[in-house]
Each structure stands twice: as structure tokens, then as C-alpha cells.
């Protein structure tokens, strides 16, 4: 490997947008046809905020996150990071991008190389991007990072299998912090952890954000966790964003029938509430992303679908300040669901 990587100047984008997707489509050819994993997603992540992305399996939320690191290739649309269009970047340039955008994965056991010590996993970004010039400096930085994520320094010499699930995820977070990225994509960071540990990790992530001014894209299927973590959030269904807004807006006044159904499906740890609660049970399953329904993609499962939903593909329109929904009958449909 030659020294002297391509130097990519990173300037701050307008209005402090760290990363931006514009009408992104990611299609994968498969034997069953073209899977439209992401099919027209636009979003902006602003400096210092947490943008939550929630959706069920097959919604395209993870693919959207991977696109920000260009770990998947966009079919059409653009990816901008720190004001630069990275859509057409070469492999070499992408390595520099991946210092600006870091990722934390779902399964901390699988995302750490079982053969390498915790310390060397955390140090890898430092080595790859030549951020330290001596092994003493590297050691110091790794210790700093271990302190930051609340792990004992002597764990640096351990292997991942000697750690608990929560400790492993802290290692994954320390590795993501190592390169001082502009954006951290958190892809289901708590999904494979025990309940008591999930809360620890959520608190840690929020604390780090407070202290270091981090920017997060928090991807999860757990609406309550996304609501808790996010400043703004977006709900995805079948490759599209169907609703976006602040957690409070989405929680109190969901405007899209899918969001309302998702909210009503979340079990609440209170037997009285559960007993009296009337759920919106959606019929059937999420349709195939190879052949999405015409018009509104949710209409095949929507309890309030009307004839014109099959014809018009609803755009994401503002229903209140900062609150947008992609439904021809935004708000109205949800009110009708509550009455019926």
C-alpha cells in the first residue's frame, strides 16, 4: 500500500447538513426479479442531531444506512456527505469517506473479528487512516476510547468472546468513535441485547452525543427506542419514507395509517392498558419489494384504503410544521381508524 492517500477536502455543507440522500434508489437484481430495497428516499441528517429511522424487516431502513457509507451502490439518486457528492466516488475515495461516516452493527459478537483483541479492533480505524504515529500514541487513544464507552482499560487485551454482549457493543461503539466521524450510522445497535443492557447502551449513546457533539442515524425496528433516542424520525415502509417528524408529533398524532398501526402493535408493559386496548391488526404481510403495489404501497394492508389509493402514488407532504406524511388521506384516515 502506498503512503499518501488521496486527500479529500471536507467542507461543511449548507445549514450544517452532515449527510443527505436525494431520491435514492437501491435496486438489487436477483433471480426472482429486481428487488427495490430502497425506492425513492430523501433525507437530511443535521449536525448534532439524532435522526431515527424505523421500519419492519424489508422496509429498506438498513440499506438506506449502508448507502451513506456507500457500502451499497445507489441505482439512481445521490448521496452527499459533508457537502460533497460521493455518489460517484472511486473505491479509493470511499476509504476516506468511511472515516467521515462510521457504523455500529446489530450483532456485536459477529461484527468483531473473533481472532483479534478488543484493543486492536478499536485501533483499526486509527491504523487504516494513519491517525496516530506511534504505538504508544495508539495505545493512549485506545485507552481514551475505552474510558469514553465505560470499559476498563485492561479489556484491551481480551478477545471478544471473553466479553458480555453489552461490553462487545461498547467496543463496537468505541471503534466507530476512533476516527472522529461526522456521522455514526447505528444499525439496530440494541436489537440483539438483553433488556437491561439495551438501556445501558441507549444511555451511553446519548451521553456520548452530549459530550462529543456526535451526529447519529439511529436505525431500529423498535419504535419506542427510536422515539426515545431521536430528535427527528422517519417511518419507512417497503423502500419509502411514509412519515417523518418529531417523535412527539409521530407519537401523538400519527398522520399515516401504517404509523398508527405500528404504534398500536407495540405492546405496553401494563396489563390494564393492554386489556382495554383496541389494536389495529394489519392483515397479511408486507408485499414483495420485487413487485410493489401500484399507487400507495401500503394500500394492500391499509384498513382505510380507498379506490384512488391504487392509482395515485402519494408524495410526502407537510401536514404540520416539520411533520410530513405520504398518504392521500393523511390524518383523516388515522382518525377514521380510531373511530371504527
Amino acid at each position: 500500500m502506498k503512503r499518501g492517500e488521496v486527500q479529500v477536502p471536507m467542507q461543511r455543507g449548507s445549514a450544517d447538513v452532515v449527510a443527505e440522500l436525494d431520491d435514492l434508489r437501491v435496486w438489487f437484481p436477483t433471480s426472482a426479479g429486481v428487488v427495490r430495497a430502497v425506492d425513492g428516499v430523501s433525507l437530511q441528517v443535521r449536525r448534532g442531531e439524532t435522526l431515527g429511522l424505523v421500519g419492519e424487516s424489508g422496509s429498506g431502513k438498513s440499506t438506506t444506512g449502508l448507502a451513506l457509507l456507500r457500502l451499497v451502490d445507489p441505482t439512481t439518486g445521490s448521496v452527499r456527505v459533508a457537502g460533497q457528492d460521493v455518489t460517484g466516488w472511486s473505491r479509493r475515495q470511499l476509504r476516506a469517506l468511511r472515516r467521515r461516516v462510521a457504523m455500529v452493527f446489530q450483532d456485536p459478537q459477529a461484527s468483531l473479528d473473533p481472532r483479534r483483541t478488543v484493543g486492536s479492533s478499536i485501533a483499526e480505524p486509527l491504523i487504516v487512516h494513519r491517525l496516530v504515529d506511534s504505538s504508544a500514541a495508539r495505545r493512549r487513544r485506545v485507552e481514551e476510547l475505552l474510558d469514553a464507552v465505560g470499559l476498563r482499560r485492561d479489556l484491551a487485551d481480551r478477545h471478544p468472546h471473553e466479553l458480555s454482549g453489552g461490553q462487545r457493543q461498547r467496543v463496537g461503539i468505541a471503534r466507530a468513535l476512533a476516527g472522529e466521524p461526522d456521522l455514526i450510522v447505528l444499525d439496530e445497535p440494541i436489537a440483539s441485547l438483553d433488556l437491561s443492557v439495551q438501556a445501558q447502551i441507549m444511555n451511553l449513546l446519548r451521553g456520548l452525543q452530549r459530550d462529543l457533539g456526535l451526529t447519529y442515524l439511529f436505525i431500529a425496528h423498535d419504535l419506542a427506542a427510536v422515539e426515545h433516542m431521536s430528535d427527528r424520525m422517519a417511518v419507512m415502509y417497503l423502500g419509502r419514507i411514509v412519515e417523518s417528524g418529531t417523535p412527539a408529533q409521530i407519537w401523538r398524532e400519527p398522520a399515516h395509517p401504517y404509523t398508527a398501526a405500528l404504534l398500536s402493535a407495540i405492546p405496553v408493559a401494563d396489563p390494564q392498558v393492554e386489556r382495554e386496548r383496541r389494536r389495529v391488526i394489519l392483515s397479511g404481510d408486507i408485499p414483495s419489494p420485487v413487485d410493489p403495489p401500484s399507487g400507495c404501497r401500503f394500500r394492500t394492508r391499509c384498513p382505510q384504503a380507498r379506490p384512488d389509493c391504487a392509482e395515485t402514488d402519494p408524495a410526502l407532504v407537510e401536514v404540520a410544521a416539520g411533520h410530513r406524511a405520504a398518504c392521500l388521506y393523511a390524518g383523516e384516515a388515522v382518525r377514521a381508524m380510531r373511530v371504527s
Binding site: R99, A102, M103, F105, Q106, D113, R115, H159, R175, A178
Partner: protein, 297 residues
């Protein structure tokens, strides 16, 4: 690319060592191999008499206290020759498997990591090599390069390259799908770094097993080549060559063939025993205690 280093984690090696200690067959195999190495290194000094001490007075003597393995048609001590020949066998094993390991692992690594046309091209070449009967291919190579120890080693190395390429590729294909490889990509690590630091150490176990098994086959192949007169040239001793020379005396001087043959047999068996034991111990499907605990929910 620098020579790939195969380094399983310490924990795994320690586990392997302790498991081998409790397996009498593997222990026997390992003991034979240790003995072989000692003899291979110190053979000329340990041997009771010189390997080329021709003495027509004691031609074709049956095993006795003076000559435990008997003497050959030129009156040379068979025990001494078998001992010195051990070095040739070890040398051939080490060098030819070294060649095969280096070439096979490199090819398999690139084929498995890059997939696509690189994979197709490299692995089809390997398939062609693989399609030839092992010995025929070795004979052909020796025929081109001329007989001798070095060409025998190169020939055997080439013959065993496809096996290592395949074992490596199979390992790479499964490891490259692991999340930790994607994690390494996500932090911007280069392909070479990922291959060297993340992929290779995680496929070390099957390679170690394959190496021990191939050592046995390489020694057997060298014996076959020497038997055919294409390997080590006389008067230097080699087990295969001794077997060949002894074939004319099977009825009246059985010891000429039996002792070199037994040496080959024991060596191959020892490598196989150790290889099988290693396969059991290093099997990645074995659950760690942690995983076992998780699955009991």
C-alpha cells in the same frame, strides 16, 4: 503481497494442544513425528555406520545385532541409510508443501475474496491441474525439468497447490460474508489489509489440518517418484529409491524393502493421525462455552 502468515489465536492453539494431550492416537503420531525430526536433523551423526560404506564381505546380511535392519547388496547398513533418508523425506515434505501453501493460499484468497472473473479464471486453472492424476502430473513436470530432488519438490508442490487453493477459497467465501469483514470495510480498510488481517487468520484452522495431511501425501509422492527413478539420484538414500532397489530381492532379502517401506508407512500414518486430531480440535463448528450458554436461553 508478502507471504501470508497463518496464525490462529493463542487460545485456539492452547485448546488444541490440551485436546491432543488427551488423545492417545494423536499423541503417538506426534511422538513419531518428533522422533522423525530428531533423526532427520541428526541422522548422519546418529547413524551407526556411513551410508556409503561399501563392504562386499557383508553383502545382503539378514538383520542382526550389528546391523538391526540388515545390509544391502553392496554391504551398506540399511538402518543408517533409512535414518539419513528421513532428512530427504522431511525436506521434500516441508519444501513442496511450503510451495503449495504459498501458491494455493494466495490464489484461493484472491479468488474467494474478489469472486467474479478472477475467481473463475483462477479456479478453472486449478480444476485443470486437479483433473490430472497426481503422479502423472508430477512425472510430466519432472520430465520437463529433469529428474532430481529440487524438481521433485517443485512438481509435488505444483500438484498440491489446487487443494490449498480450494480449501482457502471455501474458507474465504464463508468468512467474507461475516459481519466483521463488512465492519472492516465500513471503517475504510483496504482489501489487502482485510485479507491479511481478518480473513486469513480466520481460515487458519482448516489450512493447518490440510497442511499436516498434505505433508503425508507429499512424502508418499516423493517416495513414488524416487521409486520411479525420478526423484533423489543414487547413491544418496531416499526411502522410495531404497524400496525400488530392494524390489529385486523380495524373496531372498525382504529387509531391503520392508524397512524403508515401514518408515514411509509410519511417517504417513503419524501425519494423518495428527491431522485428523487437529481437524477435530480446530473444527470451527465446535461451540464455545459462551455460545452454548446463549443457546440455552
Amino acid at each position: 503481497m508478502s507471504a501470508p502468515t497463518v496464525s490462529p489465536s493463542e487460545g485456539q492453539l492452547r485448546r488444541a494442544a490440551s485436546a491432543l494431550r488427551h488423545d492417545p492416537l494423536a499423541l503417538t503420531g506426534a511422538a513419531v513425528l518428533v522422533l522423525l525430526v530428531v533423526v532427520g536433523v541428526a541422522g548422519p551423526w546418529l547413524a551407526p555406520s556411513g551410508i556409503n560404506d561399501v563392504d562386499v564381505d557383508r553383502m545382503l546380511q539378514a538383520p542382526s545385532w550389528a546391523h538391526p535392519f540388515g545390509t544391502d547388496e553392496l554391504g551398506r547398513d540399511v538402518l543408517s541409510r533409512v535414518m539419513v533418508a528421513a532428512r530427504v523425506s522431511l525436506q521434500v515434505g516441508a519444501v513442496s508443501v511450503g510451495i503449495a501453501l504459498l501458491a494455493g493460499v494466495t490464489l484461493g484468497l484472491f479468488a474467494g475474496y474478489y469472486r467474479g472473473w478472477v475467481d473463475n479464471l483462477l479456479m478453472r486453472c486449478m480444476d485443470v491441474l486437479f483433473a490430472f492424476p497426481v503422479l502423472l502430473l508430477a512425472v510430466a513436470i519432472v520430465a520437463v525439468l529433469g529428474p532430481g530432488l529440487l524438481t521433485a519438490m517443485i512438481a509435488i508442490g505444483v500438484v498440491y497447490t489446487p487443494i490449498f487453493a480450494r480449501v482457502t477459497r471455501a474458507g474465504v467465501l464463508s468468512v467474507r460474508e461475516q459481519v466483521f469483514v463488512r465492519a472492516a470495510v465500513s471503517i475504510g480498510a483496504s482489501d489487502l489489509r482485510i485479507m491479511r488481517r481478518h480473513v486469513l487468520p480466520n481460515i487458519a484452522a482448516p489450512l493447518i489440518v490440510q497442511t499436516s495431511l498434505s505433508l503425508a501425501f507429499a512424502i508418499l509422492s516423493e517416495a513414488a517418484l524416487s521409486f520411479l527413478g525420478l526423484g533423489v539420484q543414487p547413491p544418496a538414500p531416499a526411502w522410495g529409491r531404497m524400496l525400488y532397489d530392494g524390489r529385486g530381492f523380495v524373496t531372498d532379502a525382504w529387509w531391503l524393502g520392508v524397512f524403508p517401506g515401514a518408515a514411509i508407512f509410519c511417517t504417513v500414518l503419524a501425519f494423518n493421525l495428527v491431522g485428523d486430531a487437529l481437524r477435530d480440535v480446530l473444527d470451527p463448528r465446535q461451540l464455545t462455552v459462551n455460545e452454548a450458554r446463549r443457546s440455552t436461553g
